[in-house]
């Protein structure tokens, strides 16, 4: 909403500057968006008088003028046809920047005559879109007077109003708060009610469901036409377009008092009755914006005998609109329900000034005073004779008294405000203070309890004065405030970053078809109002988003993305359906290097995954191959499981079919780790590490080559070998896997280096032989391995 300082001064007796008003508004809770000062760029421009004007010797259309200016008498060349002796206008000196033409003036000859400045048009000063000739000002203005003042330009304050304060949508409401804040004195409201000369001939009916209360009166014998300059200027200053006096009066009062009104050409009302009711099936309204709106049964319409003629509280209709031919006007002052008006606004897409105000809640007590103010202005501007006021319906009940212990101000805000001061603030804001009770004014329907009253006192007293008070000590866990899970999320991010992955944050939603590729896309998880069709479904996994990110990077020339994300995935819409995944992606297209790698990058990824699990304190997990979900490469993916059921992670290469659907070039490797599936460590809360048993004896190593069926997981050899003698065997490392010549068909050779750590004494050859025997037996029992001869 916008207003000007001069408008504010209609209600507030103050000497404050625009800057002081803006500061006081901000600290009272009104957020000033912008202050536009059209006069600021006209500082160099002043009033001047043309003394003589003669034809230019070398140009038909130019005149050479002698002008009295702030700089003395100047010779100025002017092209305007109205440049004549005696004219009072605006002078721009040499060096001035003319905003409307974008030029800085220089002393240059114009067709041989030097022009020492310029005489300006309204367009050149950006005070009008178009102009015909130079400005013609009141002859009473003194030469040298400031142009902005002479033109009546003033700063316009544009601000936001929070939804709890509809009373700030009227200039008087702002004046009241600023007065309470000490910026001046609120002027009394002096509107005198007009005496009704005759009964209102138009009947009013309301359906309380549609419109609780509706007041109106007829004014006959009016002469409508353009508003006087002061009214037009006032509307223009806040961005409204003057239409005619009757309509302008309603717009003025809407901004001035947050009291929207409507004027009907009474001669066009059919059947002598105005009714506010819910729309009937199939009814439409041709509104004043020229568009026809269908009105549903949730919408309040204004109707006469002919049917709907307006959208109640939102916009009037064309059929009964006031024109310069109007001689009898019916003035409406009603109170439309905020929620219904908000709905009507959404349904029709109309965001009119009236709709905005009614949706937020207009003061019901302004019903008749607003009508009287309109009457007074109409009688003043258009003449005529007013009828008696008719009121139909019941206004909503006024706010009730609140029991208010003044000590609560200090308890809740910390501010030490004296009792008298508390009551003074509340009284200035229009509250009725009566001993232990405080009653909010009719325009403060947002105030419902004592905390609201504290806010009133605190904001007027000033939030600046809030006493900074340290929080009291609180018992806190000695081991830090993060839970194990929160700590793991944090550790996971740093562990993966340390291993070369960049953390991405991708949307929690994704394209539904993509979600379906990853086992998601349930209708329950499809947003009703997505921001874009490709972001319409809650993701079952971050894999799709990361693949898309890798593909987008590849298209920009960066095909080697290594990304990860720690974030939520969704199985359903219940809180328990949300789970936290650590998802990583590796596009194995390492940049060219003179050093050749050669190992399968899938094992590098597996290494990163295992290192991460280790960092998070996960126990040893089983690798299960061949059971991954359909979006994984069937041969190049596996799961890490804890027991037969709990899948902690899936990793591998993504299925080429998926990559194709996501328009990504493969191969792409990834893992997805379910953070919530990692068990808590067994030694909870124990900080000491297990004792370390270092043997003084040299470890020895023995190599074994085993033959196993080609489809036996080679990695399955390790665990039984380690188990063959847990005390002596320190490690078992697979160092070669071979299929081909020398190995029977359908078999492979897996070579394992076993590290033996003698504990109490060096082992004899016999003991080593016996241990080897146990190793071979264990490998044989577990996976049918035979020692290769």
């Amino acid at each position: 909403m916008k207003f000007t300082l001069s408008w504010l001064k209609e209600h507030l007796d103050t000497t404050a500057t625009v800057g002081e008003v803006v500061a006081a508004m901000t600290m009272a809770g009104l957020e000033v968006e912008h202050v536009a000062d059209p006069g600021a760029k006209l500082a160099a421009f002043t009033v001047a008088k043309i003394v003589e004007a003669h034809q230019h010797p070398n140009a038909d259309r130019l005149r050479v003028c002698q002008v009295d200016t702030i700089d003395g008498r100047q010779e100025i060349v002017c092209g305007a046809p109205n440049a004549r002796a005696g004219l009072t206008t605006i002078y721009a000196p040499i060096g001035a920047y003319v905003p409307g033409s974008g030029v800085t003036l220089e002393a240059r000859p114009v067709r041989g005559v030097i022009s020492n400045g310029m005489l300006c048009s309204a367009r050149e000063l950006e005070v009008a879109e178009e102009s015909d000739g130079i400005l013609e000002l009141d002859d009473g203005l003194a030469v040298g007077a400031n142009a902005a003042e002479a033109l009546g330009l003033e700063a316009v304050i544009d601000f936001e109003v929070t939804p709890n304060r509809p009373d700030w949508l009227g200039v008087r409401g702002i004046a009241r708060d600023l007065a309470a804040a000490g910026l001046g004195t609120l002027k009394p409201d002096t509107t005198a009610p007009a005496t009704g000369a005759f009964p209102c001939p138009i009947a009013i009916k309301v359906d309380g469901d549609a419109c609780p209360v509706f007041a109106g009166r007829l004014i006959r014998g009016v002469k409508n036409g353009p508003s006087p300059a002061w009214l037009q200027q006032r509307l223009i200053s806040v961005g409204l377009r003057p239409i005619n006096a009757l309509v302008d009066v309603t717009n003025l009062i809407s901004v001035d008092r947050c009291r929207p009104l409507h004027v009907y050409d009474a001669g066009k009302i059919a059947g002598g009755v105005i009714e506010a009711r819910l729309a009937r099936d199939g009814e439409t309204v041709e509104a004043l914006d020229g568009k026809t709106y269908p009105a549903g049964p949730e919408i309040c319409v204004i109707a006469d005998r002919s049917g709907a003629i307006g959208l109640g509280g939102v916009m009037g209709g064309v059929s009964t609109g006031c024109s310069e031919a109007t001689t009898e006007v019916f003035v409406e002052s009603a109170w439309f329900d905020p929620i219904r008006t908000a709905q009507t606004g959404r349904a029709t897409g109309i965001a009119s000034d009236a709709q905005y105000r009614f949706a937020r809640g207009v003061d019901p007590a302004s019903l008749v005073p607003g009508l009287e103010l309109a009457t007074a202005l109409i009688l003043q501007l258009c003449g005529g004779e007013a009828s008696e006021v008719r009121v139909a319906g019941q206004a909503p009940a006024p706010p009730t008294a609140i029991a208010f212990d003044r000590a609560y101000v200090k308890k809740l805000s910390g501010l030490d405000v004296g009792l008298a001061r508390i009551d003074e603030i509340l009284t200035r804001l229009g509250f009725k203070v009566d001993g232990a009770h405080v009653t909010p004014p009719s325009w403060r329907r947002d105030v419902g309890g004592k905390a609201d009253l504290v806010e009133e006192v605190a904001r007027i007293e000033g939030f600046d004065n809030l006493p900074e008070t340290p929080l009291p000590p609180i018992a806190r866990p000695a081991g830090g405030v993060l839970t194990l899970r929160q700590r793991r999320m944090r550790d996971a991010r740093r562990a993966l970053a340390a291993r070369g992955y960049a953390e991405a944050l991708t949307w929690s939603f994704m394209r539904r078809e993509w979600a379906a590729l990853f086992g998601g896309g349930d209708a329950k998880l499809v947003l009703s109002n997505p921001i874009a069709s490709d972001l319409d479904t809650m993701r079952p996994t971050a894999l799709g988003n990361l693949v898309d990110a890798a593909a987008r990077n590849a298209r920009k020339g960066f095909a080697d993305a290594a990304l990860f994300e720690v974030g939520p995935n969704f199985r359903g819409d219940e809180p328990g359906d949300q789970w936290t995944a650590i998802t990583a992606l590796l596009a194995p297209h390492a940049p060219k290097s003179w050093i050749k790698g050669g190992t399968d990058p899938l094992f590098a990824l597996k290494g990163d995954l295992l290192a991460l699990l280790d960092e998070l304190g996960a126990p040893g997990l089983q690798v299960v191959q061949g059971q991954n979900a359909a979006w994984w490469h069937p041969g190049r993916s596996a799961r890490l499981q804890l027991g037969p059921k709990v899948v902690v992670a899936e990793f591998g290469e993504l299925h080429p079919r998926i990559l194709k659907a996501l328009d990504a070039d493969g191969p792409i490797l990834a893992f997805e780790l379910n953070l919530d599936a990692i068990p808590e460590p067994k030694r909870k809360g124990v900080k000491t590490k297990p004792a370390l048993d270092l043997s003084p004896l040299m470890p020895l190593s023995r190599d074994f080559a085993f033959l196993v069926a080609a489809d036996t997981p080679g990695g399955d050899l390790v665990r039984p070998i380690l188990g063959a003698d847990k005390a002596l065997i320190a490690d078992a490392r697979i160092f070669d896997v071979y299929q081909g010549q020398g190995v029977p068909d359908g078999m492979k050779s897996v070579a394992v280096e076993v590290v033996v750590q003698p504990r109490e004494k060096t082992l004899t050859e016999g003991e080593i032989e016996a241990l080897s025997g146990r190793i071979v037996a264990a490998a044989s029992k577990a996976v049918g391995a035979k020692l290769r001869s």
Partner: protein, 370 residues
């Protein structure tokens, strides 16, 4: 009798002439081996008379020592030469680069989250979390948003479809529903352990997490991160709120004095409500916090509305406190200068590398937050 000096000259010449260790060893064996020429001479000593032995002994032993030394010296020389030759052959071109390495990064928003958590943990706050898909009760009703109130409209809520009972879930528009989960007394839902549940006051929590609003431009993204704070006790007032936020801002921006301003505002779930601005310089490309004459809104806050407390089963006459909500992504842009919020979620590897943080830059009280 062998001519000792002739033999010595002969052996010395041969030792000097050999060019490799094997040839040197052959010379050594020939002279000093079991049947070597010098060894044979030494054997003759036993057969000599004491007088002859006294004369010949030192000469022969001297010869042995001289030859032994010569061989050792030659060996040392040959070994050094061989090592030098090998090392010379092992030369590599060290102007060549090491193998390419990826640079891992922590996302700036998560870094900022860690920084914020570090400051608030030090002030005694612990972390609470809640689900991203919420119901109307937790996101709006319990937070004192009246049904059909325009304030709900202002939240640009993402809705999920209606279920059989006509209820619609939504994507939480703020982290405040977790306030309700924590404050709501006597709730005993079967929920996964990570979702916050009832606490008895005093309560002092922060709630980090993803939030969603249907909005997209340079300063709004449909998903963003909030960090909410909630303090409930018997005598917590707005002065505590102001101190807490001022303390946080000063520590987060790592400047001793940041000028801040509390302004009245409106939120349905707090009363009184405020926004806090920080003084800054917005004239250049980057916002400079703690300088200049401009104000920048940085956090919404207020005293928890008595209706919210009552909705959770807490007596507003007994318990009171404050809540605040920071936009984490935005706080990150102010400290680290990312110009467009949308880039935060674009996963451009160049952006992540430029604005991201090394794994080792974890906020730490000894080294400062960043």
């Amino acid at each position: 009798m062998t001519d000792l000096s002739q033999l010595e000259a002969d052996l010395s010449a041969r030792v000097a002439a050999v060019q490799d260790l094997a040839a040197l060893e052959a010379v050594r064996v020939e002279a000093l081996g079991k049947t070597g020429s010098i060894s044979e001479l030494l054997k003759t000593l036993g057969r000599l008379s004491p007088d002859e032995r006294r004369e010949q002994g030192p000469k022969i032993n001297g010869l042995r020592d001289a030859v032994t030394l010569a061989i050792a010296a030659r060996k040392d020389h040959l070994e050094t030469a061989a090592l030098d030759a090998r090392l010379a052959a092992e030369r590599v071109d060290l102007s060549l680069p090491p193998p390419p390495e990826r640079r891992g990064r922590v996302h700036p928003t998560m870094q900022v989250m860690d920084e914020m958590i570090a400051v608030f943990a030090d002030l005694g706050f612990s972390l609470a979390e809640g689900p991203d898909i919420e119901d109307d009760f937790h996101n709006f009703t319990a937070l004192n948003f009246p049904p059909r109130h325009p304030a709900r409209e202002m939240h640009d809520t993402f809705w999920l479809p209606e279920d059989e009972a006509g209820q619609r879930k939504l994507l939480r528009t703020h982290t405040s529903p977790v306030q309700i989960r924590v404050m709501q007394q006597g709730q005993n839902h079967k929920l996964p352990g990570w979702i916050a549940t009832s606490q008895s006051p005093p309560i002092r929590i922060i709630v980090p997490g993803r939030t969603y609003r249907s909005d997209s431009d340079a300063t709004h993204t449909p998903m963003f991160h909030q960090l909410e704070g909630l303090v409930i006790d018997r005598n917590i007032h707005m002065g505590h709120l102001k101190w807490t936020l001022d303390t946080f801002i000063s520590r987060y921006f790592e400047t001793p004095v940041v000028e801040t301003r509390f302004r009245p505002h409106h939120f349905p779930f707090t009363e009184p409500s405020a926004e806090m601005d920080v003084k800054c310089d917005r004239s250049g490309r980057d916002v400079k916090i703690g300088q200049g004459d401009d104000w920048l809104e940085i956090v919404g806050c207020g005293m928890v509305h008595p209706n919210v407390l009552a909705n959770c089963g807490l007596d507003p006459d007994e318990w009171q406190g404050f809540a605040f909500g920071f936009g984490v992504d935005r706080l990150g842009t102010l400290k680290y200068g990312m110009p467009d919020l949308r880039d935060m979620f674009a996963s451009d590897v160049r952006w992540l590398e430029h604005y991201g943080f090394s794994a080792f830059q974890a906020p730490n009280p000894a080294t400062g937050l960043s």
